[in-house]
C-alpha cells in the first residue's frame, strides 16, 4: 500500500473527462508532489477492518524498505475486534527500551502541537486549583480529532479556570471553552494519543524472549472532543519540544540500520532494533538507569551498514527465524557467549563482526583492541560510520518509550517502567 492509495484508485475516474478535452491538450499529468498522509490508530483499525493483515504495510514507498507493517502498530485484532498496541524494542544510548507506535506521518515536512483544555476551578476564593468536580483525573477537552490531517497527540495543556459551580460534564468542546471567556493558562506539553475503543496496552514485549511489560501508562481514559466522549492514552510530559512561535514540533532521529545485498538490494528488518537519536534539548525527566526520557516524535532515517558489520544473532534463535533469508549472511554469533551476553547483544549490530570470534570481546568495556564496537547509539553511528549513506525518509512517527529493558544474568530481561508524571491541576 502506497502513501496515496485512494488517489491511485480514483485515477481511472478522470478518463472520460480527459477524453472530452483532448482538443485542449490536457491530461498529460506531470509527476505530482507526494501527498501527506497521517495514519492514526483509528486508521490502522480501519485498515484491519477493511481486510488488511498485520503483515501488510503502510508507507511502503516512502524511503523505508518494506514500510511499516500494521502489526508493528496494532497487533492483529482478536476475534471480538479488540486490539492491543504492539510493543517493540529499540536501542537508546546503548540501552534497550520498549516503545509503542501510535501515529505515522508520511510526507509531512512538519507536525504541530495542538491545544488541549483542562478545566480547573477553586473550591474557595484564593484556594488552590483543582480539577473541575474535584476529581483526581481530569476529563480533558481535545480540539482536533483524529480524522483531521492536522491531528496531533502532542498537546499543550491549557488550563481553563472555570467557576466553581460549573457542573462536571458541562464543558465538552473547545468552542465552549473559548466562548466562555475563562482565564486560560498555557502550560507544558504532554503526549496524549486518542485511541479507538477496545484498544489496550500490551502486557508483553517479544524480544524474544517474551518479557512482561509493566508500564506507568494508565489504561485509556476519557476526554471530550466536540461534545463527544473519546478515549486517550496519556504518556505524560517531557516527550517533545516545540518552536514556541510556530508550535512546530522538533524532530529527533530514528536510525534504521540497513545492509546492501549481493545485487545492491537494500535489506532491512523490523526485527533488528533501530537506534533512537537523542531528543531535542529540553525534553526530559530521567528514566531508571539515568537515561533522559526519550523524545516521542521521530523522523525515520536509514543508514547503510559497512560490509564488515554483523548483527549478533544466536543460531536457531527466534530472532534468526524472524530475519529474512537474505539478511542471514549479515549475522554472526560468538560461540560460548553467556546467557547474559546473548540477552544483552541479540539484535545489536557490531561495526565489524570479526569481534564475535571471542565472547570476551563482546563487552564494550573489554580492554581487547579487537573488542566489539556496537552501533547502539546515535553517537556511535556518528563516530563510526560514513553518514553520507544516511537517507532521510518521508516518515515521521510517534514512538512512546515506556520501559527500560534490562538483561539479567540468567538471560531473562526485566522491563522497568519509565515514570509518567500525572497531570496536576496547575
Amino acid at each position: 500500500m502506497g502513501a496515496y492509495p485512494a488517489a491511485v484508485r480514483r485515477y481511472s475516474g478522470v478518463g472520460a473527462a480527459c477524453a472530452a478535452v483532448v482538443a485542449l491538450g490536457g491530461c498529460s499529468q506531470a509527476a505530482a508532489p507526494p501527498a501527506a498522509k497521517l495514519f492514526t490508530l483509528f486508521d490502522v483499525q480501519a485498515l484491519y477492518t477493511g481486510g488488511m493483515l498485520g503483515s501488510d504495510a503502510i508507507a511502503a514507498n516512502d524511503g523505508l524498505p518494506g514500510g511499516i507493517l500494521l502489526k508493528l502498530i496494532l497487533n492483529q485484532p482478536a476475534s471480538d475486534g479488540s486490539l492491543t498496541l504492539a510493543a517493540r524494542s529499540a536501542w537508546s544510548d546503548n540501552q534497550l527500551v520498549a516503545f509503542l507506535t501510535t501515529e505515522v506521518w508520511v510526507n509531512y515536512p512538519q507536525v504541530w502541537m495542538q491545544p488541549v483544555y483542562v478545566p480547573v476551578t477553586r473550591a474557595s476564593a484564593g484556594g488552590p486549583l483543582q480539577f473541575l468536580g474535584g476529581v483526581s483525573q481530569p476529563t480533558p477537552i481535545f480540539s482536533v480529532g483524529p480524522a483531521s490531517a492536522f491531528y496531533s497527540p502532542f498537546l499543550q495543556i491549557v488550563y481553563a479556570e472555570v467557576p466553581a459551580d460549573t457542573a462536571p460534564g458541562a464543558l465538552t468542546s473547545a468552542r465552549q471553552i473559548l466562548d466562555g471567556g475563562y482565564p486560560l493558562t498555557p502550560s507544558g506539553g504532554r503526549t496524549m494519543a486518542l485511541v479507538p475503543d477496545k484498544v489496550a496496552l500490551p502486557a508483553t514485549v517479544d524480544l524474544p524472549p517474551t518479557v512482561a511489560l509493566p508500564t506507568d501508562v494508565s489504561p485509556p481514559a476519557t476526554g471530550y472532543l466536540d461534545g463527544a466522549v473519546v478515549s486517550f492514552l496519556d504518556f505524560g510530559p517531557s516527550m517533545f519540544t516545540w518552536d514556541p512561535n510556530t508550535n512546530v514540533l522538533q524532530e529527533a532521529a530514528i536510525y534504521v540500520l540497513t545492509f546492501i545485498g549481493p545485487e545492491g538490494k537494500v535489506l532491512a528488518s523490523p526485527s533488528i532494533p533501530t537506534v533512537l537519536g537523542a531528543g531535542p534539548p529540553g525534553s526530559g525527566v530521567a528514566l531508571p538507569g539515568g537515561l533522559q526520557r526519550n523524545s516521542a516524535y521521530y523522523r525515520v532515517h536509514t543508514v547503510v551498514m559497512p560490509t564488515t558489520a554483523r548483527v549478533f544473532v544466536q543460531p536457531g534463535s527466534t530472532l534468526e527465524m524472524e530475519l529474512p533469508d537474505d539478511l542471514v549472511p549479515f549475522t554472526g554469533f560468538a560461540p560460548g557467549a553467556s546467557d547474559l551476553q546473548i540477552a544483552k547483544f541479540s539484535g545489536r549490530v557490531a561495526l565489524d563482526g570479526a569481534c564475535f570470534s571471542d565472547p570476551t570481546q563482546l563487552d564494550p568495556t573489554s580492554t581487547s583492541p579487537n573488542k566489539c564496537i556496537w552501533l547502539g547509539s546515535e553517537a556511535a553511528l556518528e563516530t563510526n560510520l560514513d553518514l553520507s549513506t544516511e537517507e532521510t525518509t518521508a516518515i515521521t512517527v510517534t514512538w512512546e518509550v515506556t520501559d527500560l529493558l534490562t538483561p539479567n544474568t540468567d538471560g531473562s530481561v526485566t522491563a522497568v517502567p519509565g515514570p509518567v508524571a500525572p497531570l496536576e491541576p496547575q
Partner: protein
C-alpha cells in the same frame, strides 16, 4: 516600479476618460436594469459601418474608493485559540470590506495557516480609507468580424504589513466569437468570468448592488482560463428564454486566493455550467438557474482529488423590488500539497461547504439634481462548512446597506455586516462597517 506603472495608467486612462462621450453600458447600476457581464451579453450585433460608426475600441473602467472599519483585529481568529491551522476553525472570509471579498486582515499572529484565506487589505481593526480597485477595461469589436476582444486589468494597492504594494491583476482577457447572426451563440476563449450561479454577475464594484460579496461567493465567482460556450434560445410565445453557459477551465469558479487560475496544476480541466430559464414580462422578470462544477481541484496536483459543486439560483424583479437568492453545495477531496495564489501549503484537506444567501433590494428612481436613484438592500447569508476531522462551523451574516446613484457615473454605497458564529467556530468580534465610492468612466 508598479507604482510608476499605476501612475502612468491613471494619467493615460484619465485622458481617455475625458474623451468618452457617454458612460458605458456596464456602468449602469442594478437593480434598475440588471446588467449582464460583457462576456455574457446577448450576442454580437454588427456595427454600422462608415464614418458615423462608433470606434471599435472602447476604454472603460472604474475606481473604487473605500472606507472601512472592522471590529477586533480585523480577522475572524479568536485571540485565545491556539489550534492549528488557524484558518480551519473559523470563517476567515467573514470580515469582508470590498467587492473583491478582501478582508480587513488575515494576520494570524504567527499561528500556522493552511491556505484557506481571502486576500487582505491589511487594515486590521483600524478605520481606514482604501483604494479597493482601479479597473481598466479595453474592448475591441471590429465592424468587419463577429469578434470581440476584451481585457480587464486591475490595480490593487494594498498594505501588506511590511509596506505598500500594488498588485496588477489581469482579471479577464478573452476573445469571443459569435458565428451566427441569427443565434445567441457565443464561443469564448481566454480568461473570463465564472459560469456558476449568479453572483459573479455582480463581481465588479460598479455593478454590485452592495459593497461586499456573500459568504459563498468564494466558491462561485472566480475567473479562470479556458474555453466557454454560451447559448440562449428565446421562446417568444412564452415570453421566456432558456440559456446554457458551460466552460472548461483550469480552476473552475473558486476565487483566485483559493485556487490559482493561471495554470492547470493537474493537467485536467474543470468543467462548469449553468442551465437557466428566464421569464420576461412587462411586469415581472424571473430568472432561475441550476449550476454544476466537476473536476480536479486546482490547488494541488492530483487529478484524482476532485471538487464537485452544484447550486441553484433565483432572481425576481417586480415593481422596483429585486430578490436574489442562491444555494451552493461544495465538496472537495483530499489531494497533495496545496498551492494557491497566496502561496504553498502542506496539505489539501477534504472539505465540504453548504450555504447560500437571500438578498432583497428596493430601488427608488429619483430625479433630484444629481440624485438618480436610491437603493436600500439587505442580505442574509448562511454557511456551514467543515474540513475533515475539524469541528464543522456554521456562521451567518446580516448585511444592510444603502446605495445612492449620482449622475450616471458615481455611486456611493455604505453597509454594515453583522457576522455571527452559530456553531463550531469561537465567537469573535468581526462585524464590519464598510463603504464604497465608485467612479465609472
Amino acid at each position: 516600479m508598479k507604482r510608476v506603472a499605476v501612475v502612468v495608467v491613471v494619467l493615460f486612462c484619465g485622458a481617455r476618460a475625458f474623451a468618452q462621450p457617454a458612460p458605458p453600458a456596464t456602468a449602469v447600476p442594478p437593480p434598475e436594469a440588471e446588467p449582464e457581464p460583457i462576456n455574457d451579453s446577448d450576442g454580437y450585433t454588427p456595427a454600422v459601418e462608415g464614418a458615423g460608426a462608433p470606434s471599435p475600441l472602447s476604454i472603460n473602467g472604474y475606481i473604487d474608493v473605500g472606507f472601512a472599519k472592522a471590529q477586533g483585529d480585523g480577522t475572524s481568529f479568536a485571540p485565545n485559540d491556539q489550534s492549528i491551522p488557524a484558518d480551519y476553525g473559523v470563517d476567515t472570509f467573514a470580515p469582508a470590506v470590498n467587492s473583491r471579498g478582501d478582508v480587513a486582515s488575515t494576520n494570524s499572529n504567527g499561528r500556522f495557516v493552511n491556505g484557506f484565506l481571502p486576500r487582505s487589505v491589511g487594515i486590521g481593526g483600524n478605520a481606514s480609507f482604501l483604494l479597493n480597485t482601479l479597473d481598466v477595461d479595453l474592448k475591441y469589436a471590429p465592424a468587419s468580424a463577429p469578434l470581440m476582444v476584451f481585457s480587464r486589468v486591475q490595480f490593487l494597492p494594498r498594505f501588506t504589513g511590511s509596506g505598500d504594494e500594488t498588485r496588477v491583476y489581469v482579471e479577464q482577457a478573452f476573445g469571443r466569437l459569435v458565428p451566427f447572426d441569427s443565434q445567441e451563440f457565443a464561443l469564448a476563449a481566454g480568461k473570463f468570468d465564472s459560469v456558476f450561479g449568479i453572483e459573479y454577475l455582480d463581481n465588479e464594484a460598479n455593478i454590485r448592488t452592495g459593497v461586499t460579496p456573500s459568504l459563498v461567493a468564494r466558491y462561485t465567482t472566480g475567473q479562470s482560463i479556458g474555453a466557454k460556450l454560451f447559448y440562449r434560445i428565446q421562446i417568444q410565445p412564452l415570453q421566456s428564454a432558456v440559456s446554457l453557459n458551460v466552460s472548461a477551465t483550469n480552476s473552475g469558479n473558486f476565487v483566485e486566493s483559493l485556487q490559482p487560475p493561471d495554470a492547470s496544476l493537474t493537467g485536467a480541466p474543470v468543467g462548469a455550467g449553468r442551465l437557466g430559464y428566464e421569464l420576461n414580462t412587462p411586469g415581472i422578470q424571473v430568472k432561475l438557474g441550476a449550476s454544476g462544477l466537476y473536476g480536479p481541484r486546482n490547488d494541488q496536483a492530483y487529478q484524482a482529488a476532485h471538487q464537485k459543486a452544484f447550486g441553484f439560483d433565483a432572481r425576481v424583479a417586480v415593481a422596483g423590488v429585486y430578490l436574489n437568492a442562491e444555494y451552493v453545495h461544495v465538496d472537495e477531496g483530499a489531494g497533495g500539497p496545496k498551492t494557491t495564489s497566496l502561496g504553498n501549503f502542506p496539505i489539501s484537506s477534504t472539505f465540504n461547504a453548504r450555504g447560500g444567501y437571500v438578498q432583497l433590494a428596493y430601488a427608488l428612481p429619483l430625479s433630484v439634481g444629481a440624485l438618480h436613484k436610491l437603493t436600500v438592500y439587505g442580505r442574509y447569508d448562511r454557511r456551514h462548512a467543515w474540513f475533515e476531522g475539524f469541528t464543522p462551523i456554521t456562521v451567518d451574516r446580516f448585511t444592510g446597506g444603502v446605495r445612492i446613484d449620482l449622475w450616471e457615473a458615481l455611486i456611493l454605497k455604505a453597509e454594515y455586516l453583522d457576522n455571527r458564529e452559530l456553531a463550531g467556530a469561537p465567537t469573535v468580534a468581526n462585524n464590519v462597517f464598510t463603504s464604497s465610492l465608485v467612479y465609472s468612466w
